[in-house]
């Protein structure tokens, strides 16, 4: 295949967010080149669990984005199937629902308050008794004090999903280039973005999308328009394939607090789910340790203990491996989606932290709507680049 030398838009980062942006832009008729310094879908996208969650978000702009995204995912998969065939569109989409479990009485009240607030904005959140919870998940601990069922929670395989989105970009005349690092931007006489330096060459384009995930801060500095996106590390334990033990996405009620926390210290809260192959994934940890990849056994121990508290049967199950990744974190816990006010033609789509898989379709749609001057379904103002928590001073 011949390499394209110019594009309408260059998307930097071939993870789920870059892929979703590129898909939405190419669906709008734009010619898109996606570059990634590594392999497509090989960074943060490959280091998570494939969460498409409504349950862990309190009412607000992120939940609005999540609700739109939850509606878009199945539509998007269906349209990819129609366009590219069954094989490409097989992304292990499982609308399995979520069950949030309070194992002590203190957690029941806050969980009920959150569920009530979510119901007010249209999220299905059904309070269930401990007996009902155990009927839904027979291996669940007997220590259930209360639980809420979220039928809308879902899961998919993020690498397959990103790959499918990128396949659509290629089918529409775009290109995806791995092993190609973007270094800096090129501007025209009026200060507008005119291209991007990739590898040894320069690619002319009308717009650049910074979708570098946790490395979005790095690229923004190289581009001369710094934004505050920091890495937050998360680890996942993988059990050997098991018979059906966990039906839904089951997590402890304190997970919501851990998601919203800004603590530098390690946060651990059980999130347990099965995958299509029978393995059980055990998350979640959050740690701000920069890009330090060193394996910390204490994190894994705490993950295992928290999971056994929810599902005692897991105590005797072998762990096959562990993996992890860096999630793109912003100081105000909201994604950054929009054009940079300092450089027309530079766009950012990052900062989704651990929710990027779930938020990807709505992020792509919003970015494409903004770039093409269309009305967007969600209010873009809360995600704009020009907000104090995100826009960083140019340090000279």
């Amino acid at each position: 295949m011949s390499r394209i030398e110019t594009a309408d838009v260059v998307v930097i980062g071939a993870g789920i967010i870059g892929a979703a942006c590129a898909e939405a832009l190419s669906a709008s008729g734009l010619r898109v080149l996606v570059v990634d310094r590594g392999a497509p879908a090989g960074g943060t996208t490959a280091g998570g669990e494939g969460n498409v969650l409504l349950s862990d978000k309190a009412p607000g702009p992120e939940l609005d984005l999540a609700v739109l995204s939850r509606r878009l995912w199945p539509q998007l998969i269906e349209s990819l199937r129609a366009e590219l065939g069954d094989e490409v569109a097989r992304v292990e989409w499982e609308p399995k629902g979520g069950l949030v479990v309070a194992t002590d009485q203190d957690a029941v009240g806050p969980l009920a308050i959150l569920a009530e607030a979510q119901r007010e904005v249209g999220v299905e959140a059904v309070e269930v008794t401990p007996d009902e919870a155990r009927a839904m998940e027979p291996y669940l601990t007997e220590q259930v004090a209360g639980a809420v069922h979220y039928p809308g929670d879902a899961q998919l395989q993020p690498v397959l999903a990103a790959t499918a989105l990128l396949a659509a970009v290629r089918a529409r005349g775009g290109e995806v280039r791995g092993g190609a690092e973007a270094h800096s931007l090129v501007f025209d006489g009026s200060g507008k973005v005119a291209g991007v330096r990739v590898g040894e060459g320069t690619i002319g384009c009308g717009a650049v999308v910074n979708a570098c995930g946790p490395w979005a801060g790095h690229f923004s500095v190289a581009a001369g328009a710094p934004i505050e996106v920091l890495p937050r590390r998360g680890m996942v334990l993988v059990t050997a394939p098991l018979p059906q033990v966990v039906g839904r996405k089951v997590y402890a009620a304190d997970y919501v607090a851990a998601v919203a926390s800004s603590d530098v210290d390690l946060q651990v809260s059980a999130v347990v789910e099965s995958t299509a192959t029978g393995t059980v994934l055990i998350g979640s940890s959050r740690q701000r340790v920069g890009f330090d990849e060193a394996l910390q056994v204490e994190v894994l121990r705490r993950l295992a203990r928290s999971a056994v508290k929810l599902f005692p049967v897991l105590a005797g199950v072998p762990v096959m491996r562990t993996y992890g990744g860096f999630r793109p974190y912003t100081p105000d816990h909201l994604p950054v989606i929009g054009e940079d006010p300092r450089f027309p033609g530079l766009w950012h789509a990052s900062g989704h932290e651990g929710a990027g898989i779930g938020l990807a379709p709505a992020t792509g749609r919003l970015l494409a709507d903004l770039m093409c001057g269309r009305e967007s379904e969600v209010d873009p103002s809360r995600f704009k680049v020009d907000r104090p928590a995100v826009i960083a001073e140019v340090r000279t």
Binding site: A240, P241, L242, P243, V313, G316, V317, P318, M320
Partner: protein, 85 residues
């Protein structure tokens, strides 16, 4: 030293792995795959491939090539994915 394999008593030597014991007895497969129920035994022999899984003392998914036998071990063939018993 003695262990049991699927209920049958087997004489073993100290330091042998479960895979070593079973191969020495001429047994080449000791579990079945989860989907197709096909036979599996030793493949890589160095603990990487997770093909030689077996149930030892009620714990499933033990790598036979890595597990050194201990007196009285109860070793059992594993059918697909099993939970600890």
């Amino acid at each position: 030293m003695r262990v049991r394999f699927d209920g049958e008593e087997v004489e073993v030597q100290e330091g042998q792995t479960v895979a070593g014991v079973l191969l020495a007895k001429g047994i080449r497969s000791w579990r079945t795959t989860r989907g197709g129920g096909r036979p599996r035994g030793l493949f890589c022999g160095i603990g990487v491939c997770f093909d030689c899984l077996v149930k030892v003392n009620g714990v499933p998914d033990v790598r036979a090539c890595q597990r050194v036998v201990a007196e009285g071990d109860d070793i059992r063939t594993q059918a697909g994915a099993e939970l600890p018993s």
